[in-house]
Amino acid sequence: MVTEDSTMNDPRPRLAAGIRPAPDEPAQPYVRAEGVTRKFGEVAAVDDVTLEIYRGEVFCLLGGSGCGKTTLLRILAGLEPATTGRVLIDGEDVTGTPPFRRPVNMMFQSYALFPHLSVRNNVAFGLRQDGLPSRQINRRVASMLELVKLGPFARRKPHQLSGGQRQRVALARALVKQPKLLLLDEPLGALDRQLREEMQFELINIQQTLGITFVVVTHDQEEAMTLSSRIGVMHAGRIVQTGTPTQIYEYPRSRFVAQFVGSVNLFEGRVEERAPDHVLIASEKAGCTLAVEHVAQVAVGAPVAVAVRPEKLVMAHEPPGHEYNHIPAIVDEVAYRGGLSIYKLRIATGHTLHLTQPNRDRATVQRPAAHDAVFVSWHPASGVVLDS
C-alpha cells in the first residue's frame, strides 16, 4: 500500500487560491453521507459511499458518464431515495426528508427554468413557496439578480435569453433561498469554452460572497480542479479518492485516478531496494531502475507501478548525469499546441512515452524533432508508486 505525505505544501499556484475557503478540517463535517447505496434492480449506481463535506467548501464529484455522480447528487437533493445508508446535513438526518423540505437546492444540468414564468418569477418561485412577505421576496430577488448581473432581464421569459444568461437564472433561482447546501449538476456543461472559463471565476466569486457550501458534479477534470477545494473521484459507483486538486493530481492513490485525472506514463516493476528516503524499482517496461522519493510502506519484491506525469519528464540530447530514471528514446511524433508541445517517444523496450514541454522560447532553441535520438529523465520526487 502507498500513502502520500498529507502535510505536504501546495507548490502549484492555483487559480483564485486567495479567495478559496479553506476546508475547516478539525470542524465537524457539515454534510455527511454514510454508507449510501442506490440500487436500480441488481445494479448499484451508487455503492456504499461515505463522504464528508465541510462548511463553505466547493466539493467536486468527478467521474466519467455512468459512474453514479449524478445519482449521488440526486440522493443529496432527496430526488432519489437511497436504498441503504444515511444522509446528514448540519447534524440533522435528512435521509427520509422529501426534497421540498430539505435545506438543499439544486441547479439542474438542463437548467429546468420554468418556461411560462419570467426571470423574476423563476427566481422568486422558491421564496414564494416559503410564504415570505412579498416585499421581502422582491428585495431578495432584486439583489440576487443584481449579483448574477441579470437585473435588466428580470421581465424576460427564459426563451428570450442566451445560454449563459439562462445558466445564471438557474444559479440565482437555486441560491436565492440561501440553502445550507447547493448542488450543481454539470453547471457549465452547456456553455461554450470561453464562457465556461469566465463563469468558473464568477461561480467561485459568488460562492465566496454568499459562503454557501457547493457540491458540483462534473466530468471535466479541469473544471473540477479550477472550482473545487476538494475533489472526490468516482468510479463504478464508488468514491475512489478524495483530496485537494493537488493531492489528486500529484499523488493519485490508484492507477484509475492517475489515468483518469490527466495523462500519465506507467511503468510496472518490482521493488528492489528500500532506503529511508527513496525506493528503487526494477522495471522491465522502462528497461532501467527507477528511483522514487517519498514512499512509505512498500515491501521489497512487491509488484508496483510507477506513474510519471508527461510534464515531469525532461528531454535532452545528452545523457543526464544521474544514475536512475533515464531512458534513451526516439522521438516518434511531435504535436505542436502553441503554448506547449506533446511528444510521443519510443523507448528501447518498444513502449511509448508521452512528454509535454512548454515552448518557453520562440524557435531560437533547437527543439527535438521527429526521429531524433534523445534521453528522457525525471527527478525521483516526480514519480508516484502505485499498486500494480
Binding site: 437533493a77 432527496g78 437546492n105 439544486m106 439542474f108 420554468f114 418561485f125 445560454g163 466530468h219
Partner: protein, 281 residues
C-alpha cells in the same frame, strides 16, 4: 424540367384542394341562394339565415348541442389529463400496456359499437341502481365524455412525454409540494395541449350523430340529429345556412387548436436550444 415539375405540383395541389373543398364551397354559396330550390341559383340573399333564426326546433337543438359540447369538453379534459398523466408518469406499473391500450381503444372502435354498448350499459344501470333515469341529455353527455376523453389522454400523454422531468423536480426542490407542482408548473406548461384537447372534444361532441342517436331519448335531439332528420325529408336551403355557420365555428376551433399547438412547439424547440447540454461521450 423544373417548371414542368412545379406545374405538376401546382395541378396536383389544385385538384386535391378542389376535391376537398368544392362541396363545402358550393354549400356556402348556395346558403346565400334566394331561390327555394336548392339546386337552382336565384340570386344573392341572406333570407335563409333569417329563416334559421326563426326556426325554434333548430335553435333549441343547437343550444342543447352547445351545452353538451361545453360540458363534454370540460369533463373530458379533466379525466383525459388524469389518464394522460398516469400513462406518462407512473412508469411501469402492472398492466400499463393494457391500460394504455384500453385508453386509446375508443379511438378505433366503430361508433356504432360504442353507441350500442353504451346504450346497453345505461339500460342495465337504470335497472340496477335507477340512474341514469331514462335516456336524454345526461346519457348523451356521458357517452360523449367517454370517447372524447380518449383523444385528450393521447394528446396530453404526448405533451408530457416531451416535458423535461427536471422541471417538476426543480419545483419540488424549491419547496413546492407535489400537488402544487402539478398545478403551478405542469398544468401551465402543458396548457396548449389542454386547450387543444378541449377544442377537439368540443368539436367531436358537436359533430357526433351516431352515438348520440343511440343514447338520446325523447326531447333530447342534438343539432346533428335534427339536421339529419330534416334532410331525410328533403334538403332545405335553411340547412345550407346552418351548415355554413357550422363550418365557420369548426374552422375557428381547428385553426385555434393548430395555432396553439404549433406555437407551443416552436417555443419548446427554442427553449431546447442552448438549454440542453450536448451529450458527452
Amino acid at each position: 424540367m423544373r417548371t414542368g415539375r412545379s406545374a405538376f405540383v401546382m395541378v396536383a395541389m389544385a385538384l386535391c384542394l378542389a376535391f376537398l373543398y368544392l362541396p363545402i364551397v358550393s354549400l356556402v354559396v348556395y346558403s346565400f341562394n334566394a331561390s327555394k330550390l336548392v339546386t337552382v341559383w336565384g340570386g344573392f340573399s341572406a333570407r335563409w339565415y333569417g329563416e334559421l333564426l326563426r326556426d325554434a326546433q333548430i335553435l333549441r337543438a343547437a343550444w342543447l348541442s352547445l351545452r353538451i359540447a361545453v360540458v363534454t369538453a370540460t369533463a373530458a379534459v379533466v379525466l383525459g389529463t388524469l389518464a394522460g398523466v398516469a400513462l406518462a408518469r407512473m412508469g411501469r406499473f402492472r398492466g400499463r400496456i393494457l391500460f394504455s391500450g384500453m385508453t386509446s381503444a375508443p379511438l378505433v372502435m366503430p361508433e356504432v359499437i360504442t353507441g350500442l354498448s353504451l346504450l346497453l350499459l345505461f339500460v342495465a344501470l337504470e335497472d340496477l341502481i335507477g340512474w341514469p333515469r331514462g335516456r336524454g341529455v345526461t346519457t348523451i353527455t356521458i357517452a360523449h365524455i367517454t370517447f372524447s376523453m380518449a383523444y385528450v389522454a393521447v394528446v396530453i400523454q404526448a405533451q408530457l412525454a416531451n416535458l423535461d422531468p427536471s422541471l417538476e423536480e426543480a419545483a419540488l426542490d424549491l419547496g413546492a409540494r407535489p400537488a402544487k407542482v402539478f398545478l403551478v408548473i405542469t398544468v401551465p406548461v402543458i396548457a396548449p395541449a389542454l386547450v387543444s384537447g378541449w377544442l377537439l372534444s368540443f368539436t367531436l361532441s358537436l359533430d357526433d350523430l351516431i352515438i348520440a342517436s343511440f343514447v338520446a331519448g325523447p326531447g333530447s335531439s342534438t343539432l346533428p340529429m335534427v339536421v339529419f332528420s330534416k334532410v331525410r325529408l328533403g334538403v332545405s336551403p335553411e340547412i345550407n345556412a346552418l351548415a355554413t355557420l357550422f363550418v365557420v365555428v369548426v374552422s375557428i376551433g381547428v385553426i385555434a387548436a393548430g395555432a396553439l399547438t404549433s406555437r407551443a412547439q416552436r417555443r419548446r424547440s427554442r427553449d431546447a436550444q442552448g438549454a440542453i447540454a450536448p451529450p458527452f461521450g
